[in-house]
Amino acid sequence: MENSHFEFSEMQYDLLKELFNLGIGSAASSLSELVNQEVILSVPDIIFETPEELANRLGHDQNIFSVSQAMEGPFDMHSMLIFNPEDSFDVVKQMLDEHLSDETLTELQSEALTEIGNIVLNSCISVIAEALGESFKIQLPIFRDTKTHELLDNSIPKRGSKEVLISILVKMELKKSLINGHLVFVLNTDSMEDLYKTLNTLLESYE
């Protein structure tokens, strides 16, 4: 679904992609260090869509574990690291060197995954903030065990389920252990204008 109010120019799209490319590159290297294996990323996919459409892209009515950090600054954004429960279990398992039973790991995984999300998202956000020359006020990470279509409930202020958001979605793959996950950044309508301005300011500074 296209949004009539905001038509990003090609330059703006490229800049946005470039910004997030930098960010997720840094996030991937942090994750790669944590799990000690190569992390492969897709090109950021920037789409105008409703929360429902985003949920469907992540898999309709799927159980997911997410770690999200809200950030306020030149534009407000919600950043999220998402794994399905089985894969998140494997990620945690690989990070803990001591041998623990699956039962205990299940108990510990939300705590560990919150820290992992924090490391990955921080490294991404700090690179974006640095590139923009701006500072963001970032909240502590929150872990959620939820369904895909409930992912955005109560997390970002929306004007309803039909409201169009900008979602920036990156697919991640841990090559060795075949684990798939997503990095998702979501901006609501109010933030889009701020992003538009920020991108313009940045473009103007290059000119």
Binding site: M95, S101, T104, L108, E115, N122, S126, I138, Q139, L140
Partner: protein
């Protein structure tokens, strides 16, 4: 506002928290150190406040703490350090304990901004999660223990399965309340059950039990359930397949009890014992054949002895007569002839008895059942032997209830038995003794007892006296018996579906008795 830039209210709030609070300014100097930190680090606030963070924690090896603190000071990025990935980074301990136990920690690092002064601080909040980690560890130990137990159980189950496989046994389970029977694949095979399902109703299962065995199996099951047989269950029965193949099966199990000690189920194994049974039958048949063979040999040995004795008599007296015919007086020769005649009679008597017995044993004895009065037969027998008894001054007594001496039997054969018993009694009763007859009805039988006043039967011979060529040791005096008389009596009484025996009277002497049914099926 204090000199650190943090309000007194905020510091009081931090002090009241049940978690550690360290606040750093933008130069990483400590500006707040709450009571919880004093208590658990054993560093008083006045020693910590104003000091650089690194000076207070010179040996903090966790690189991530340094990294996140500096990144928070620089860009305001928040961070969480979980107790899972960070093993107790700060040197904090449980207070007032001898052994210094380090606290497990969950650390949150955030920025706080004081709007009035526009200054920003780094807030380190430390939560004690030792208790929950201990719980996790306890859980982990339990889990490991459970896994070990499971492994042991799996191993034992495998061993049991192998043992069952090797023993050719099937597993069965009988639920007493639901009357359901659970049979594994092997058990189903043994019982000729083709169905793939493993649970059957008791009635369904009974259909595969060989009909003549169902009643006894049901009785045994019921007794087991009623705990009349203890907690072991062991029963042999037959099962029958669709093509009428019969198989011997043993069911062995234990009775399981519920919380109220009531029989709940029977658990055990089913084993096909057809081969063992076949083997057992062969062994029994072999033993029977060996016994029959021994009996035949004994019979032949006895026979030759019994035949040879009178023949010797005949031959030796005939020979004596031949050699002395010229010299011996006439009376002597007459005595030789009478000895020859006597031996001839004995031989004839013996051969008659033998013929009788072999006929009876071959089941070729003709029995002519008629209703008859036993008391009349007793009278006839006494009359027949009267001359001999008078000679010995032996008296007889006969007891009976009027009209209570009738039964259905072959009067000629039974007369033979009475005569035999009576002549035995005469042989053993002393001069002027009494022989008594007692006729009575007893539980559908008519019984006759003949008591003498002799020395009685030695205990060891009571059970063999009716066998062929058996004579009581005290009659083996050449009194003329063939040793077949009582064996013939036995055959006659058994031919009447009756019983016979001998016992010693408490007052002395022997008592021969027999009883025959009042009515015969064939009659």
């Amino acid at each position: 506002m204090s000199e650190s830039g943090l309000s007194v209210d905020l510091k009081n709030f931090f002090s009241s928290l049940n978690s550690g609070v360290i606040v750093l300014d933008m130069q990483a100097n400590i500006v707040c150190w709450n009571q919880w930190m004093e208590k658990h680090s054993l560093i008083p606030g006045y020693k910590a406040i104003g000091k650089p963070f690194d000076e207070i924690f010179p040996e903090l090896v966790n690189q991530r703490i340094h990294q996140v603190i500096s990144s928070n000071i620089k860009t305001g990025l928040p961070a969480i350090l979980s107790s899972v990935l960070n093993k107790a980074p700060f040197p904090l301990y449980i207070p007032n304990t001898k052994e210094k136990e380090r606290l497990q920690q969950q650390i949150n690092i955030t920025s706080i901004e004081i709007s009035t002064t526009s200054s920003r601080y780094c807030l380190i909040n430390i939560t004690d999660v030792t208790a929950s980690i201990k719980r996790e560890r306890a859980l982990e130990n339990q889990v490991q223990e459970r896994k070990k137990t499971e492994l042991r159980l799996i191993k034992r189950t495998d061993q049991l399965q192998s043992a069952l496989y090797a023993s050719n046994a099937g597993v069965f389970q009988f639920d007493i309340a639901t009357k359901e029977i659970h049979l594994d694949k092997k058990a189903r095979q043994i019982c000729f059950i083709i169905s793939g399902k493993s649970i059957f109703s008791y009635q369904q299962w009974l259909k595969n039990i060989y009909q003549p065995d169902t009643h006894s199996l049901e009785q045994y099951l019921q007794s087991s359930i009623n705990e009349e047989l203890g907690y072991q269950f062991d029963f042999e029965f037959r099962v029958q397949g669709v093509d009428d193949e019969i198989r011997w099966v043993v069911i062995r199990g234990v009775i399981g009890l519920d919380a109220n000690n009531q029989s709940k189920n029977i658990n055990g194994v089913l084993v096909d014992i057809s081969r063992q049974k076949e083997h057992q039958e062969l062994v029994l048949a072999k033993e029977a054949a060996e016994i029959a063979n021994q009996a035949k040999s004994a019979f032949l040995a006895n026979m030759s002895h019994e035949l040879r004795t009178p023949l010797h008599g005949i031959l030796s007296f005939a020979n004596l007569g031949q050699t002395r015919i010229d010299k011996a007086p006439r009376e002597k020769l007459e005595s030789y002839f009478s000895r020859i005649t006597e031996s001839g009679h004995r031989l004839l008597h013996l051969l008659n008895d033998l013929l009788d017995l072999s006929k009876m044993e071959a089941g070729k004895m003709d029995i002519n059942f008629v209703e008859y009065d036993l008391k009349v037969l007793v009278g006839q027998a006494i009359d027949e032997q009267k001359a001999r008894m008078d000679e010995l001054k032996i008296n007889t007594e006969c007891y009976y209830q009027s009209g209570e001496s009738f039964a259905v039997f072959d009067n000629i054969r039974i007369f033979q038995v009475i005569t035999n018993f009576l002549s035995n009694a005469i042989k053993h009763t002393p001069i002027e003794g009494i022989i008594s007859f007692d006729i009575k009805k007893l539980n559908g039988y008519l019984q006759l007892e003949i008591k003498d006043q002799g020395v009685g039967i030695p205990e060891g011979e009571i059970h063999t006296i009716f066998d062929k060529f058996q004579q009581s040791s005290f009659t083996e005096d050449g009194s003329g018996g063939t040793g077949l008389g009582l064996a013939i009596c036995k055959e006659i009484i058994e031919g009447h579906n009756g019983l016979l025996g001998v016992k010693n009277n408490p007052e002395g002497g022997a008592c021969f008795y027999f009883k025959i049914p009042l009515k015969q099926k064939q009659a």
